[in-house]
């Protein structure tokens, strides 16, 4: 993703939004927000060159808490909106944030198709394995057996695995973070922003209010950084699939996969490949071209 050079060094404070987050104290989403703000400052991307786009959910409230251009769209639709934004102005840095319900439930189709188009944006899913804003129902990533208000007798469905699903859909950058590992997460966000193409980071972001199964402690006991395994090769898709399937005593976080040989959508589109962003182009069509359009009809 293209970065725009700053005039003077930025700090995370330059990305402070108009209001403070109203998330529950302890909510995992705080860690994601601050990591994002930190990395944007570090990378010296100016706030007005970033568009943060979300759907609806606790996590999707994020654009209101960061000073960039923001779009707080419809439940599940952020990726479609973001694709439109990127196509209209491919010079902008587009960041999509949202929840597991938003992204893998109602938004699942856009997830797959945005991935295969390799739209150049960073998608950070704050995955708390629950529907937070609607006060605690089963989400597509809720584990089997988990009891919620909507499945009080326990979930009987296999959860979605966002990592392997993204890989199968053809994602060019796939990672997983943990909101209580801010440095690690910031590093992933940085890599994701730098990646030219669709970057997906699934972040374990515990809901302290409604998910009493997948707590900070629960994750802390299990997570293991892929980076700690020096032999791990993130260009090996099949290996990424193997690690992506792990879920139990050991749950990997880190960068599962990256490939850089595929063009992103705006690079593949000859119309955008060079020249100004669409949003700044001349609206009128040249008279000789118009003449051709009409001659065709005669």
């Amino acid at each position: 993703m293209a970065t725009v050079l700053q005039l003077q060094p930025l700090t995370a404070a330059d990305f402070k939004g108009k209001v403070d987050p109203d998330w529950c104290p302890g909510c995992g989403d705080f860690g994601v927000l601050s990591s994002l703000q930190k990395v944007l400052a570090e990378m010296n991307i100016l706030p007005h060159n970033v568009v943060t786009i979300s759907g609806i959910g606790c996590s999707s409230n994020l654009p209101g808490f960061i000073d960039t251009y923001g779009m707080h769209t419809l439940h599940g639709r952020a990726l479609a909106v973001a694709t439109g934004v990127k196509m209209a102005n491919h010079k902008l840095n587009v960041v999509v944030t949202g929840g597991d319900g938003d992204g893998f439930g109602i938004g699942g189709n856009h997830f797959i198709h945005t991935i295969r188009r390799n739209v150049d944006l960073l998608y950070v899913a704050m995955d708390n394995q629950i529907y937070g804003l609607t006060t605690g129902q089963t989400s597509p990533t809720s584990r089997k057996g988990m009891k919620t208000k909507s499945m009080p007798y326990g979930n009987v469905e296999e959860p979605i695995n966002p990592i392997t699903l993204a890989l199968a859909a053809g994602a060019t950058f796939v990672a997983r973070g943990f909101s209580a590992e801010p440095k690690h997460l910031a590093n992933l966000i940085k890599q994701g922003l730098e990646h030219k193409g669709f970057s997906f980071i699934d972040v374990f972001s515990p809901c302290v209010t409604y998910n009493h199964d997948n707590t900070y402690a629960w994750f802390r006991e299990r997570i293991k950084k892929l980076e700690d395994d020096v032999s791990y090769d993130s260009s090996d898709w099949h290996e990424a699939m193997k690690r992506g399937l792990l879920w139990g005593d050991e749950i990997p976080i880190g960068k599962f996969f990256q490939r850089t040989d595929l063009p992103s959508l705006h690079e593949a589109e000859p119309l955008l490949d060079q020249g100004e962003p669409l949003a700044h182009r001349e609206l009128r069509i040249a008279p000789e071209i118009v003449r051709n359009f009409i001659t065709e009809l005669m």
Partner: protein, 596 residues
């Protein structure tokens, strides 16, 4: 209406009705004749019955009319369905090797012994070329225009193919000269040259003229033609065209692009629009303009995908729940499809709200001649109050995206402009875009924002002209229609006047804003009003009543999938005028005599 000439070609899907149709249309238009064409087809790829009517004349031809002068049936089925309806002075040109003229007719039968004439090779194409050439001879058209078009068409296949085709055409042309009676009136000509285009092409070109830079769609009949034109001309027009995974993605992507500053557009039909209605509300709440074309087809549900109807109006009126300003207009003819698009974009941009163009299959897949000068690409472009670069006057702290203004319009900064960062939200928000439920849910702020948005309605009303009555104000009967029925009602009015029943017409183009008062003022002084609609329930009549309490004296409705023909309206009007004394809202449901 002046003398017109209508050719009809009937056959199964896949039999090649389109190509001879295109050639007729080109010849007519290059001859300076106006034309109007309608193709009755089915939702299958092969088989069934397709029936294309092309009607041409010196004056503007506003509908495909009531009569066929020349019928070319490509199979027995087409012959059987239509022969009985042919009048005297008409002619039927057909392949006599495979088709028999079943019943008796007053029309001239023109059998072509195709095998003999073509020496048996590639007979499908040859049958069509023979019929085409024979027909043109009977119409009194020279051979050259046909030769010209065949040459253009087969050029890329090499000169051998061209020669073969010209030869067979010449055989047909000469055979008709020797064996068939020419039509009593040879086809006229004028000094003009017209473009021929479908409503879908017109809508797409209207988008190009409006400066649309982002077009996305999911294919859906009968709107797919817009996508096809856009896709084919994307590179030269500098329009980014994307096919999306579904219609939900379409509207959201279009809104994203519009939000980032381009003019964005998409097109669909009723079912796809149903999936877009949530997105429409987003456009309204974020105050991000977007233009959606809905090409109506016969519903409910999947319905009759290749048949026409004006049945989506109430879906549009209620789409998106809650109250918000919107724009809805229905183009009245194919040229109007072209003109309405920039107009809609200007209004959507100025008032930062969704704009809906309510077309239908009749216009979208119909074709008509247009004076090329009318396809004006230098039309006005008004992007409204949009901030595209930093202006020292709009300081970093001073900018409020949803500023409460008298007009209800708040200047819109697009992403990338320094000093204007803000978040646009679908949740209710304050002037600064902050969610009111994240702060304190506040009834006063909520009301202020609702009032702000709704104030735009006044500006919208002022920006659109009220409709005007066409014809003598003192007429005995006023026919009221909306959108695509304009042309057929116009012809029905002319026919009524010719028959001594004085009639006039009020055609509604803008649904929202409606200008109900102006409409009622016109209708109040009408002697007898009849509302003509291509749907079951009288959707426009009900809507007009909801805004004005006005009830017409009668109504004519059609909901069998086929469009009105002029005589449907004329006969129903006469019937209703005959028992006018009752003054209840009479319903006429015209029946189609042609079983397409």
């Amino acid at each position: 209406m002046d003398r017109t000439f209508a050719v009809a070609i009937g056959g199964a899907a896949g039999q090649g009705v389109a190509t001879p149709g295109d050639i007729f249309a080109k010849i007519f238009a290059r001859r300076g004749l106006h034309l109007n064409a309608y193709n009755a087809y089915q939702s299958i790829i092969r088989g069934g019955h397709t029936f294309l009517t092309i009607r041409a004349g010196i004056e503007e031809v506003t509908c495909f009319g009531d009569h066929i002068d020349l019928l070319i049936p490509l199979n027995q089925d087409s012959m059987d369905r239509h022969i009985g309806l042919m009048k005297a002075n008409a002619a039927v040109v057909y392949n006599s090797d495979t088709i028999k003229p079943g019943s008796l007719t007053q029309a001239q039968l023109c059998p072509l012994p195709v095998n003999q004439l073509s020496k048996g090779s590639r007979s499908k194409v040859e049958q069509n070329t023979l019929a085409l050439a024979a027909s043109l001879r009977m119409m009194g058209v020279d051979f050259e225009p046909l030769a010209e078009i065949l040459t253009e068409q087969f050029m890329r296949k090499g000169s051998k193919v061209v020669t073969e085709n010209l030869d067979i055409a010449r055989v047909g042309y000469d055979y008709a000269g020797a064996n068939f009676q020419p039509f009593a009136f040879p086809l006229p000509m004028s000094g003009m040259q017209y473009a021929v285009l479908s409503g879908n092409t017109a809508l797409a070109m209207g988008g190009a003229a409006a400066g649309v830079k982002f077009y996305c769609a999911y294919p859906m009949s009968p709107s797919t033609g817009v996508l096809h034109w856009m896709a084919a001309h994307a590179r030269s027009a500098g329009i980014l065209v994307r096919q999306v995974e579904d219609e939900i993605g379409v509207i959201n992507m279009a809104i994203g692009a519009a939000h980032a500053g381009v003019r964005a557009m998409c097109a669909t039909s009723g079912g796809g629009f149903a999936l877009m209605t949530e997105g429409l509300g987003m456009s309204a709440m974020m105050e991000t303009p977007v233009v959606v074309i809905d090409v109506q087809r016969a519903g409910p549900s999947t319905g009759v995908p290749t048949k026409t109807e004006q049945g989506d109006l109430w879906q549009m009126l209620g789409a998106g729940f809650g109250d918000f300003p919107r724009l809805i207009a229905a183009p009245t003819d194919i040229l109007d499809c072209f003109r309405l698009v920039p107009e809609m974009h200007n209004l959507a941009d100025r008032f930062q709200c969704p704009g809906i163009i309510l077309g239908d299959l009749l216009l979208s897949e119909g074709r008509s001649s247009v004076d090329p000068k009318q396809l004006n690409f230098d039309t006005e472009i008004d992007r409204g109050e949009m901030i595209v670069s930093a202006d020292p006057a709009n300081g970093e702290n001073g900018y409020k995206r949803y500023k409460i203004t008298e007009s209800g319009i708040s200047p819109r900064a697009i992403p990338g402009v320094p000093g204007h960062t803000h978040t646009a939200a679908t949740d209710e928000h304050d002037e600064d875009g902050v969610l009111i439920s994240d702060e304190f849910t506040n009834p006063a702020k909520r009301r202020a924002m609702m009032d702000k948005r709704q104030r735009k309605v006044l500006g919208i009303e002022a920006a659109v002209q009220p409709p005007v009555l066409i014809g003598t104000p003192t007429a005995e009967v006023t026919l009221v229609g909306w959108g695509s029925t304009s042309g057929v009602i116009r012809e029905a009015v002319a026919m009524l006047n010719e028959e001594g029943i004085s009639a006039n017409q009020l055609q509604i183009r803008w649904m929202v804003p409606l200008h109900g008062e102006a409409i009622v003022n016109i209708l109040k002084s009408s002697k007898y009003t009849i509302m003509v609609e291509n749907n079951y329930s009288g959707q426009f009549a009900r809507y007009l009543r909801s805004e004005t309490s006005y009830v017409p004296d009668g109504c004519i409705r059609k909901y069998d999938g086929e469009p009105f023909m002029p005589h449907h309206i004329v006969e129903a009007v006469k019937e209703q005028l005959a028992c006018k004394t009752h003054k209840t809202q009479q319903l006429s449901v015209p029946v189609h005599e042609i079983m397409v």
